[in-house]
């Protein structure tokens, strides 16, 4: 089977799992899609070396790339797009219907409730930003407006807040998740 066809088969098999993995850890459908896109772009760049592995092995390798992406995002507050740019791939926009489908696939509703309880433990700045972005699901531009800060600062606060909650959330996020 050709490398291209095998890679598309991998995408068909794992894309939704990877998207759910990111959605359950970022609570953000758009961001989850961006991270999914970069994960597969990086995977394609190394595909020639890896494609002969077994199905489980390949899956493990893909999730390793995904975890690395997530960790970079949490550290820097922005999604890396280098592999996507090199390949000339445009990440599609996430429409209203897709947001609902991603929320349902990742079962985000119960996670959002759990997050509400954990919010009380955070500092006021991060709590407000997370409340507006994750619980109230407002776009970053509105979060920034309501807090009187720039959009970049709003993103950074949410990112740091999620990182701070990661320990509390990870068992919940993993429970019921596919990976």
């Amino acid at each position: 089977m050709a490398a291209a066809e095998e890679f598309i088969e991998l995408y068909d098999r794992e894309a939704e799992s990877i998207l759910v993995f990111f959605a359950r850890r970022t609570f953000d459908a758009e961001l989850a899609l961006d991270l999914t896109a970069e994960t597969f772009a990086q995977a394609w760049r190394s595909w020639g070396r890896v494609r002969s592995g077994g199905r489980e092995e390949t899956r493990g390798w893909l999730f390793t790339i995904a975890r690395r992406q997530l960790s970079r995002y949490r550290r820097r507050g922005r999604v890396e797009r280098r592999a996507l740019q090199r390949l000339g791939i445009q990440t599609p926009l996430v429409g209203e219907d897709d947001v609902g489908r991603i929320d349902a696939a990742a079962e985000l509703e119960p996670l959002r409730e759990a997050l509400g309880d954990e919010l009380a433990l955070l500092g006021a700045d991060q709590r407000e930003a997370l409340q507006l972005r994750v619980v109230d699901e407002l776009p970053y531009v509105v979060v920034a407006e309501q807090l009187g800060i720039s959009e970049a600062t709003a993103r950074a606060r949410v990112s740091r807040g999620l990182r701070a909650l990661a320990r509390a959330l990870d068992p919940i996020a993993t429970e019921g998740g596919r990976r």
Partner: protein, 307 residues
């Protein structure tokens, strides 16, 4: 494979394109440097091409012309969570992929309608009529380009778009069907004042009539090319409709490639009825419809912009 999440399906098309391109480059390199392998390639070439033919379905996405939409100017940029493929579609007179319509709201509070060919829940352009080198592939239309349309209009007082558009002499490829400013040139209408450009054959010219009548509209009647009247039910809470007809032979005074929009429709749409029993007749374009039809039920005038 069908991905239920539309964005995943669009992303798959991108990876398919890149993966196949890259594979074909590898074949070319191998052929150049290893002449002996070429013999094998000749033998296996047919099988490889057949395999690729099954996969080469999507082409490169449509890209923006001159400039990408900017948050600061014009319509602003599309707010991703507002992008909605409407549950309305229309057959093309020549068959093939149907036509579909998408609604997006921009950061400047404008509603934009995009029309194009529909493939597996995705809106796009077919590589024909001089678009995309006539490659015959389906080229997805990224939703972000909606904001390049000159016909995005301000939402009403309830944040709703009620709007009707006519796009005349659109090529059947669907390129720039709703006036989007995109890269690349398709063919021009047969009587266009652009002699050096490739002209579309008349059989590939379409007139599109589309819009959102709002939640109160219950039926729409239009006149087909042969003069017969058809009545359809607007689709969904937006009251969406989409009519695709072959363009008629150009006549003196005919406006090429025209795009126009308004709050109420015009011929070939002849009548719209509303839940409250109102019948609005639009058959005579020279006669102004009554005020209740100019500002249709469900439309709420927006507050004026601040100073």
């Amino acid at each position: 494979m069908n991905h239920e999440i539309e964005a995943l399906a669009e992303l798959r098309a991108e990876f398919e394109r890149v993966a196949l391109q890259s594979s074909s480059q590898r074949w070319r390199t191998a052929w150049r440097w290893r002449p002996l392998v070429a013999i094998v390639v000749v033998v296996l070439g047919g099988a490889t091409a057949a395999l690729a033919a099954g996969l080469i379905h999507f082409g490169k996405p449509v890209t923006a012309g001159r400039h990408l939409p900017s948050p600061a100017v014009g319509n602003g940029t599309v707010r991703p969570a507002t992008v909605k493929l409407l549950a309305v579609h229309a057959p093309d007179p020549a068959g093939g992929l149907p036509w579909g319509m998408r609604l997006s709201i921009t950061t400047h509070g404008k509603g934009c309608l995009e029309v194009g060919r529909l493939d597996d829940g995705r809106l796009g352009v077919i590589g024909q009529d001089n678009a995309f080198g006539n490659d015959g592939r389906f080229h997805p239309l990224p939703a972000a380009l909606a904001a390049t349309s000159p016909d995005c209009v301000r939402l009403d007082g309830q944040g709703r778009l009620i709007h009707n558009e006519i796009a005349g002499d659109v090529p059947a490829s669907g390129l720039s069907a709703s006036g989007l400013i995109v890269a690349g040139h398709g063919c021009r209408p047969p009587n266009a004042i652009a002699p050096r450009r490739v002209l579309c054959p008349l059989r590939d010219e379409r007139n599109l009539y589309f819009g959102l009548l709002g939640p109160e509209a219950t039926s729409l009647t239009y006149s087909a090319v042969n003069g017969t009247l058809h009545t359809i039910t607007p689709v969904g809470p937006d009251g969406a409709y989409l009519i695709v007809q072959r363009a008629a032979k150009p006549t003196p005074g005919h406006i090429n490639n025209a795009l126009s929009g308004s709050l109420y429709p015009s011929p070939p749409i002849t009548e719209v009825t509303y839940r409250n029993g109102l019948h609005c007749n639009f058959a005579n374009p020279r006669k102004l419809p009554p005020r209740a039809c100019q500002f249709p039920p469900g439309y709420v005038t927006a507050a004026p912009d601040g100073p």
